[in-house]
Symmetry: D2
Subunit: 402 residues, 4 copies
Amino acid sequence: MRFRNTRQLTESLLGHLSEADATVQSMEDASPAKWHAAHTTWFWETFLLRDFVPDYTLFDEQFPFLFNSYYESEGERIARDNRGLMTRPTLAEVMNWRAHVNEAMDRLLDDPANADLIALGIAHEQQHIELLLTDIKHAFCKNPIGPSMWDAQPARSSVQGNGWLAHPGGIARVGHQSDGFAFDNEGPVHRVLLEPFALARRLVTNGEWAQFIADGGYKDHRLWLSDGWAWINRRNITAPLYWRDGKHFTHCGWQERDPDAPVAHISYYEADAFASWAGARLPTEFEWEAIARGQDSPGFCAAAGNQLDPDGNPAQPPLPMGTEELYGDVWQFTRSTYLPYPRFVPAAGAVGEYNGKFMAGQWVLKGASCATVRGHSRASYRNFFYPQQRWQFTGLRLAKDL
Amino acid sequence: MRFRNTRQLTESLLGHLSEADATVQSMEDASPAKWHAAHTTWFWETFLLRDFVPDYTLFDEQFPFLFNSYYESEGERIARDNRGLMTRPTLAEVMNWRAHVNEAMDRLLDDPANADLIALGIAHEQQHIELLLTDIKHAFCKNPIGPSMWDAQPARSSVQGNGWLAHPGGIARVGHQSDGFAFDNEGPVHRVLLEPFALARRLVTNGEWAQFIADGGYKDHRLWLSDGWAWINRRNITAPLYWRDGKHFTHCGWQERDPDAPVAHISYYEADAFASWAGARLPTEFEWEAIARGQDSPGFCAAAGNQLDPDGNPAQPPLPMGTEELYGDVWQFTRSTYLPYPRFVPAAGAVGEYNGKFMAGQWVLKGASCATVRGHSRASYRNFFYPQQRWQFTGLRLAKDL
Amino acid sequence: MRFRNTRQLTESLLGHLSEADATVQSMEDASPAKWHAAHTTWFWETFLLRDFVPDYTLFDEQFPFLFNSYYESEGERIARDNRGLMTRPTLAEVMNWRAHVNEAMDRLLDDPANADLIALGIAHEQQHIELLLTDIKHAFCKNPIGPSMWDAQPARSSVQGNGWLAHPGGIARVGHQSDGFAFDNEGPVHRVLLEPFALARRLVTNGEWAQFIADGGYKDHRLWLSDGWAWINRRNITAPLYWRDGKHFTHCGWQERDPDAPVAHISYYEADAFASWAGARLPTEFEWEAIARGQDSPGFCAAAGNQLDPDGNPAQPPLPMGTEELYGDVWQFTRSTYLPYPRFVPAAGAVGEYNGKFMAGQWVLKGASCATVRGHSRASYRNFFYPQQRWQFTGLRLAKDL
Amino acid sequence: MRFRNTRQLTESLLGHLSEADATVQSMEDASPAKWHAAHTTWFWETFLLRDFVPDYTLFDEQFPFLFNSYYESEGERIARDNRGLMTRPTLAEVMNWRAHVNEAMDRLLDDPANADLIALGIAHEQQHIELLLTDIKHAFCKNPIGPSMWDAQPARSSVQGNGWLAHPGGIARVGHQSDGFAFDNEGPVHRVLLEPFALARRLVTNGEWAQFIADGGYKDHRLWLSDGWAWINRRNITAPLYWRDGKHFTHCGWQERDPDAPVAHISYYEADAFASWAGARLPTEFEWEAIARGQDSPGFCAAAGNQLDPDGNPAQPPLPMGTEELYGDVWQFTRSTYLPYPRFVPAAGAVGEYNGKFMAGQWVLKGASCATVRGHSRASYRNFFYPQQRWQFTGLRLAKDL
């Protein structure tokens, strides 16, 4: 059921796009929507069907080369920045491949021996659903006419309460600790020592960011990390990605910015500078997780908040609106770099390339965004990006020492 | 009639492409097929309809910004390397625009006052037809599965005769000198002094180029211009563009190379090195024109040879095959740089940007290629490219001193 | 006394160089020797003399612009990659400036109110002494004739014992915790929770690295971080910097490599890949510090090991040789990124730019190198570099879980 | 005598520089002064001493590798942009080499069999004297303190007369046609057909260029070649190189600009744009040569005008001042690209690389500059540079059609 809903959700999103929309690639970090539809299918074929269906034959001999992403163990693949030139196979051919694989998967779904890999494949496709949404947003924004993927007008968000969630510090257990699925990078579970701190009850908003700009935040070197200062000056960056005058670019085209909605599409450098300006700091990934787990109290629900509905047919475009929840709207930068936990060992085989080899130069983000499929995230979940990347729904929640 | 045939030819070529094919851009030098279809339409709207149809309103207010190419006088335009991100307007919308403009042009076609601009617009669209064909070839070749635009198998070319066309030298009249249409860069007609020389009867072939390679032509610095030597070493160039093993990429996908067919897709640097290896040289543009005009004898027919049929529906894909004619198969590099003729003055207004401002750093090519619309070329025609460019059907014909 | 010895040491090293040697810059990361001599002098003039000597006048009005490094608060400065074009002021003029500042400093040295800034200035100049040595090594190595800075033949190192230093884990106090000088980035002192682990008794050697290479270490993607794999392939890296055939480049020119000496001039990416190949890992900065502090036992002496003698006139060139000590030979990569400690606040004023703003994208190294002035380092010392940098004396010591 | 004077002139110029000045390289186009001193010596050793002195042994086995410039036939050499890192061999060692070669050359100077190669070697060293002067000027200008090579204050230039030198057109004999020395690229002598034209009596001045700027010359796309427009916008170019406020940089540091002196340090793109603005054009190389030869009248003297005195000890720094002569002050851009003359064949052997292989992408300049050794130039002389280069003393003289 979750398999079919996830597959259906990918296909439903493609229904909002023309074949041309689904083909283009607006930068090396982004991939075409058609590529996401194909690569997720490659994943099922490569790691499930090929290994566990004895008589399975590849749908097309060339597709493994065309749609492998970065798995060195799975052989050669096309250069990442050439993904946008693959006008063939056509979108219809890719959809046929999807149907073929969906059908073949039917035989494997009920065998408990495959449960772990199937859970991995679903999580993988959910990640690509989010990327599909952020990648097409980037491509549309580069188009001077600013196309819309949805016609719906965005709803107005409500003002959120202020305040802080305090934590007394001490030893906390972090990392994946339930029976459910988790990526290898979320473990092993281990203990960390926390100092007393507090985490903001709500995300930083567009309105607060506008104050930061008005106060000269992008012009005061004292607020910035050296690499960040070089980056904003080299790239002439003076606002979040997708901001222009009083508007910002959304999946519904250019729209008025809601000052009460959470700010999105900022880099780590900008998040860090804002926190300095606000006299606060970013939380560590462990502080965030400790709050999320609620320690000895109930904690927050990972599936609450403003996220993407998993029912296979999203009625609403993703847009940060603001909720009382910890998970949703935007991924939240931490001041923790993406490094292995003590005694971490990557999974065996090609899927071991999923996470471990990226543990250099990136920062951990916690929570979930409005483009994250509901149910995908959890307290131990570690999203990660480079400090200058901001085409994801990235935002921040302040922390402070107590 | 020529207007409608030319417009129809563009549209007929688009019929071989999916919307995705027509949208992508494989390098900054190339443009999407849809962009060619739109930009040529922009040309008619901008330089004819807007100026000469009193009540004409733009089909879409944003299209002038989207589809201006390089006319500074016509205002801002999108960055050249972003042309491939315009998934909207859709191909259907562009085709509607074409129909709208075709219909509006009907009113202007018969007025002799517009004849010059109409001739220019037809020549302009013919140039973009050739570019559309070479640009999509480049994009398809970057696709690992090597798609075909036509299914037809290429015919086998016949062996051409050897020998030289001798010229006694003396004063020759060059430049446009008839009543027909010509670009401003083809005039004024003027006299040049030629030394006795001879021009090869046929184009250099794939087979001869293979000998050049086998003889170490790409490894012998003595054959190369300094800039060319740096270029082939920096880019690891060891063969013409589109060569791989015994095959080459065509509009019908990867095909066996015919050793008797003219070599194509070489740069000026390579043409010059080959001529040195062969103990010959490239002709000047004036030597070529003098032979083409036949001096006191009949001369060659500019509309003969292997070119693209102008009837609005090409049955055959463009492919160099070899003929006895001077015009066709491949554009022929000369050793003349693209500079203004004595007393040259660019046309007034924005169309003056058509040619004159490009007179720096490029080389003149003469003749016509298999992708040139028959009737487009003439003895005074000056095609021009940078010395490292080779995605056009470019080849060479040797010359020598007498 | 330490002030004068440190200043004298800088000047003594310059005595091994011609004016031309002292002027050139071999890459943006490196600076000219003359620039180091001048910039350290700028530091004393800017942060001590100008502020605390009432009647002090600048030696030269242009020098603050010429010799500021990266202090935004101190105003404009020349582009970093132009430092090597400053043939004027001459080396003699810079030496005169040094003498002038040395004399002026005499008045401040005995006032306890200045002790902290003086200690900072000495530590600063010691850091630049190390950079001067590694920068000139880089410049000399780019010279095809491979000049020597010292004639002395390097001594043969002795084989070091194997084995591991075990640690039971638990809560450790880390960060600066004595009364002596420390940089702001070494504090505040705080507690961390360690799992049981062991640290190798000795550094990885040239001989072991040669085995790593022979075993295909640079060709096996499974050993590498993704960014590291891209880096070695893009740059064609197959060995440590300065290795060529059986030799390596030293301050005494090209010399045979001693297989028992510690390997040097490796990047973080290489250190991490080697550790994976060896079935081990890199230590965290806290593990290293816990071993160095010896917990409840005596611990190691930070001033022992193969380091640069501080007496103002080094008799020997810096060269990793191998000792039983924890500090010396090469800086040791940790798997910790360079981030602020809990409750870290940068120092007030311009000197606050010294450390905090670099806390992004870099890794912590512990210990000391053969080019570190003896007495400069301590258990809490945090050196830091980007993961691809390797022109410093960088090496590694393995760790493993217990 | 000319040999000794030329050698002495190189050495005299070095006497104005410190060893550091003589070592650095400010861009890839420029070379260190010490390198010029060494490379010219390499030329004598390689093409004369090694071939014609039976018992000659190389002064140093490594120098051929270090000081070859671009002669592929003479083997490997260091990367061009690494020339500035050769702090060793020292300047003193290079001067010793020069003395050694000067002495060895004594045996060859009087043998008429060597006259051609000796004339070539002298011309070669004269070219490097000019490059030494323009290269060090560039390096000094990049130094914020703007050092001087000479203390002398530049003299004030006198206002020059206006007017035009008319030419009736017709067939002109161009190319080298006397018994004296000439480079291979100046021949063979041949005939060209000229239309009636006129050449300005004087060079364009600083004052006229200031008017061009004030009139918006750098902001009007209609004046510029497309490549030039892209170049000035990409590089933010709004004035000649070395202009800042009312001053310009000279070998005597920053000085007031004389409005009556010829403008210098402009690119081809700028020269072409200025000519368009002035309603004129640049002359062809043949028009310039026809005027210089005076047709049936006496013509101009190539050794007159403001040039560098060849007596081995220049008293004055090079500075454009304005004269009535055709040769001097600045090299004059033509609208001719640097291409081979009819029947041109490069000289045999390695010296054949001197000129022919550079015949792509460059423009011909005629005349001589204030940094050209008097006697070096002649009517057929063809200097050549890329269209964006402007660190030479480059200027312009207008032409127009009659």
